[in-house]
């Protein structure tokens, strides 16, 4: 576990790869009571197609999330949540498009909590009966999402933008696809993606980094095992098959998601630089201090619900904004026009420096959050980059890169708009 100190951020990161292939990262925080541990696998809802030990597999949609639920089951009727709770710790998990994370936070009994986390995630225990019962719970979760307009509007947008990429399919899968999930499917996916070489352990808090590595060796062993090879790219073009999709739901006012397709990012420093360029481009185009934001806010086309940024995962990336608006199409046209204006006029140097300073300050402030730090250290590491190096990347970015990005990306062909309108009620005649 080699410690590296980052003076600009007053942070230390201890990083190492164990004999079994597990990456361990520790961010020591002296003087804090809380300790947070993330145990993540580089495997999410989009990774349904993969090779494992020479065979090709296509798993049903929703399997990564189903697996996340079922890993909390342990042999002998043990209750993982209750065991954490008895130590005053809180445990939970989430599945995203490209990552599954299990975590706990505690203030005491850290070593025992860490052992328990590593143990339950690495112990597959699936019975016919328990897998069947989970379907009822996940059906309810799917039902809850169907009533959540912010999920529906995004899923509708992804279907309009991508013909092939599995981001088209909800993370939870559908009530139909989850019916194909059996204990055998779960066991296979666990073997392929929950091997230490495909995983990362990250701890933030006042802990001993070597001690963390020792516990990981003790619970997971030192042997490496083969891992699944996920499909990471899909044959989508940069044009959006559908530029507009609309439906009605029980919402108070029209909502929109608007996105522009971007080229998928690679790995390493270059990818992170592109991501930060894209973030700054989003700020320059429609961030709260942009010319456009002010104008649209004052004209009442957007309100304080408006927000946006750059999103990226294996095989796809997009510039995305969302909010409530009475006229989402006017908003889209205004964004397209503003991108042309910015690229024609360029970004003044003082405005660019102010933007970078603001983005830097917000990232520094974000480090006070244990959760955000743990998540970013993991996500950036899985993309091949040390998160704490962000200050030097910011320094290197030039204003012209922002303009190049906007010129390439913010075009009508790459654009898709998803709208949810309130249900038309029959008015009194």
């Amino acid at each position: 576990m080699k410690p590296v100190y980052y003076p600009e951020l007053d942070e230390t990161l201890c990083l190492g790869v164990l004999e079994n292939g597990l990456t361990v990262a520790v961010v020591p925080r002296k003087g804090f009571t809380k300790k947070l541990a993330y145990f993540v696998t580089d495997y999410g809802s989009i990774h349904t197609e993969f090779e494992y030990e020479g065979q090709h597999y296509e798993a049903p949609a929703g399997v990564a999330h189903y697996l996340e639920h079922k890993l909390f089951d342990m042999p002998g009727g043990r209750d993982v949540s209750a065991e954490f709770a008895a130590m005053g710790a809180m445990t939970n998990a989430f599945t995203s498009y490209d990552m599954t994370a299990y975590y706990f936070s505690c203030t005491e009994h850290f070593d025992d909590c860490l052992r328990l986390l590593l143990e339950f995630v690495s112990t597959p225990y699936f019975t016919e009966e328990s897998v069947e019962k989970e379907r009822g719970i996940i059906d309810q979760e799917i039902g809850m999402n169907e009533d959540a307009p912010e999920s529906v509007i995004f899923e509708q947008l992804m279907q309009a933008m991508y013909e092939n990429h599995p981001i088209r399919v909800p993370i939870l899968g559908t009530c139909e696809t989850i019916r194909e999930i059996t204990p055998e499917v779960l066991t296979l996916c666990h073997r392929a993606f929950y091997t230490p070489g495909n995983m990362m352990l990250c701890v933030v808090g006042d802990v001993d980094p070597e001690g963390v590595a020792d516990i990981a060796r003790e619970v997971l062993g030192t042997e490496a095992a083969p891992r699944g090879i996920r499909r990471k790219s899909w044959p989508d073009t940069m044009d959006c098959p559908q530029s507009l999709t609309q439906r009605e739901m029980e919402v108070a006012m029209p909502m929109f998601n608007l996105a522009f397709k971007c080229e998928p990012l690679g790995d390493g420093e270059e990818a992170i630089r592109q991501e930060m360029v894209a973030d700054l481009a989003a700020e320059a185009l429609f961030g709260e201090s942009s010319e456009l934001y002010l104008r649209l806010y004052e004209e009442g086309i957007i309100d304080s619900s408006f927000g946006g940024g750059f999103e990226t995962l294996d095989g796809c990336a997009m510039l995305l904004c969302s909010g409530d608006s009475d006229d989402p199409e006017a908003l889209r046209d205004a964004i397209l026009a503003q991108a042309q204006k910015i690229t024609a006029e360029g970004i003044p140097q003082d405005a660019f420096l102010r933007m970078k300073r603001s983005a830097f300050g917000r990232r520094v402030r974000g480090l006070d959050s244990f959760d955000a730090t743990c998540f970013r250290v993991c996500a950036y590491h899985l993309s091949g980059f040390d998160y704490f190096r962000f200050p030097e990347v910011y320094q290197k970015i030039e204003a012209e890169e922002i303009c190049d990005f906007l010129r390439r990306v913010v075009t009508p062909q790459r654009c898709s708009l998803s709208i949810i309108d309130p249900i038309e009620k029959e008015e009194d005649a």
Partner: protein, 421 residues
């Protein structure tokens, strides 16, 4: 740890000096009695203040100023604390030690806050009509969009039903119709009045000494015309007759909310026991409701209970299939009855106490949680530091929890169900 100073009559500064953080926070709240006549005005006020000042006349100038301050944020702060509504601003800013080339953030931040609070542009004795009208529209949209989150919407409806004789049922941001009626002059006069008479709570967390914080705040405080009026103390639940309400909407999943009352508030010695009871009953993944209604019976994905200690209200909310209302209800009552009979295992009791202790221990680990604990504790009548509170939780026995459970009585229910209206 927390230094408390009275800077002017009715103006309290609480400082928590802590050098571990990368950011600081400063909040300023005026405290009002929750009242249907002004709740909407209080909610609107900070949004109007954030639109522009005499020196930085529009939104763009404001956000540029914040960008220069290394991406500092200032946001509207409108809280409901029992019988009170607080109104003010919350600032988050990077600590000076990370600023490039010896820049400073905190001192200019306080000066900017003064500007936002006291240098609003006016026209004919009111705020600028453009600002007021556009923020009214925004606030109405915010209030109405609560409908998008069906769980919060259902809980709001339950509290309205239960609290017909209590201001706790008033929505925190007021009603859309009340927002619509506000005029620029009326809002400005209201603001001048509350600046003069309302208790003001200022809270700081960060690396600066309290003397420095005081020094920086003084220019602003000198400009405040103060003739403070005392607030009535917090009160418990004001009873009315219980009701069961059902509403129909085009939704895929039903939302069931049940409301209970207890005479135990956070001003009572039994408060820690009630907090433990709520955790055993329905808070978190080891609670009786989660373990039985979700895990054993697969009746729902989400279920949980909440305890409003300032009022003595316990709520349960669950997302369920439409035809499972009666089954879910029955099971929720069955679990409460089990608590009332003292059928709580040592494991359940320990887990509940540990969960509360753990979150109290971590109070001091982020500027936001320090602010939200201390800036509301004093107002709500909770006269305990996290340390004293922890000691009280540790001392809670099974008999205390059972006794607390036996004070809980069903009051009202709300069910949101699918189908055409």
């Amino acid at each position: 740890m927390i230094e408390t100073k009275t800077l002017l009559p009715g103006v309290t500064l609480r400082c928590c000096r802590d050098t571990r953080f990368k950011q600081g926070c400063l909040s300023i709240q005026l405290v009002r009695q929750m009242d249907t006549g002004e709740a909407a005005m209080n909610a609107l006020l900070p949004n109007v203040l954030l639109r522009g000042t005499n020196q930085n006349p529009d939104l763009r100038a404001i956000t540029h100023r914040l960008d220069e301050l290394y991406g500092a944020s200032v946001s509207s702060l409108v809280r409901r604390v029992g019988d009170y509504q607080t109104v003010g601003l919350y600032c988050g800013f990077m600590d000076d030690r990370f600023a490039l080339g010896g820049d400073r953030v905190f001192a200019p931040m306080v000066a900017f806050l003064e500007e936002l609070l006291l240098d609003s542009p006016t026209k004919q004795g009111g705020f600028l009509p453009d600002f007021v009208e556009s923020e009214k529209k925004n606030l109405i949209a915010t209030i109405e969009s609560e409908l998008n989150d069906k769980r919060a919407y259902a809980l709001g409806k339950l509290l309205k039903t239960m609290c017909r004789c209590d201001t706790f049922g008033l929505p925190r941001l007021g009603e859309p119709e009340q927002v619509a009626e506000i005029t620029p002059v009326q809002l400005y006069e209201h603001y001048q009045n509350i600046l003069r008479v309302s208790p003001m709570e200022i809270f700081y967390v960060g690396s600066a000494e309290s003397e420095q914080v005081t020094e920086l705040l003084l220019p602003m405080l000198r400009r405040l015309p103060r003739t403070p009026e005392a607030l009535a103390p917090q009160t418990g639940f004001h009873p009315c007759e219980g009701r069961d309400v059902m509403e129909t909407m085009e939704v895929a999943q039903g939302k069931l909310c049940l409301g209970f009352t207890t005479p135990i508030t956070n001003r009572c010695p039994e408060f820690p026991a009630m907090q433990v009871l709520n955790t055993v009953f329905g808070a978190g993944m080891t609670s009786k409701l989660f373990m039985n209604v979700r895990e054993k019976l697969s009746l729902c994905y989400s279920i949980g209970s909440g305890y409003y200690g300032t009022k003595g209200i316990v709520t349960v909310s669950a997302g369920i299939d439409f035809d499972k209302e009666q089954t879910a209800r029955k099971e929720i009552f069955r679990q409460l009855a089990a608590c009332q009979r003292g059928e709580i295992t040592m494991d359940e009791l320990t887990a509940a106490k540990e969960a509360i202790l753990s979150s109290l221990r971590a109070t001091h680990d982020s500027p936001g949680s320090i602010e939200s604990y201390y800036a509301t504790a004093a107002l709500s009548g909770l006269g305990m530091t996290p340390e004293a509170y922890m000691a009280a939780v540790k001392a809670v026995t099974l008999a205390d929890v059972t006794a607390a459970a036996n004070t809980v009585q069903y009051h009202s229910g709300y069910f949101l169900k699918g189908g055409s209206q």
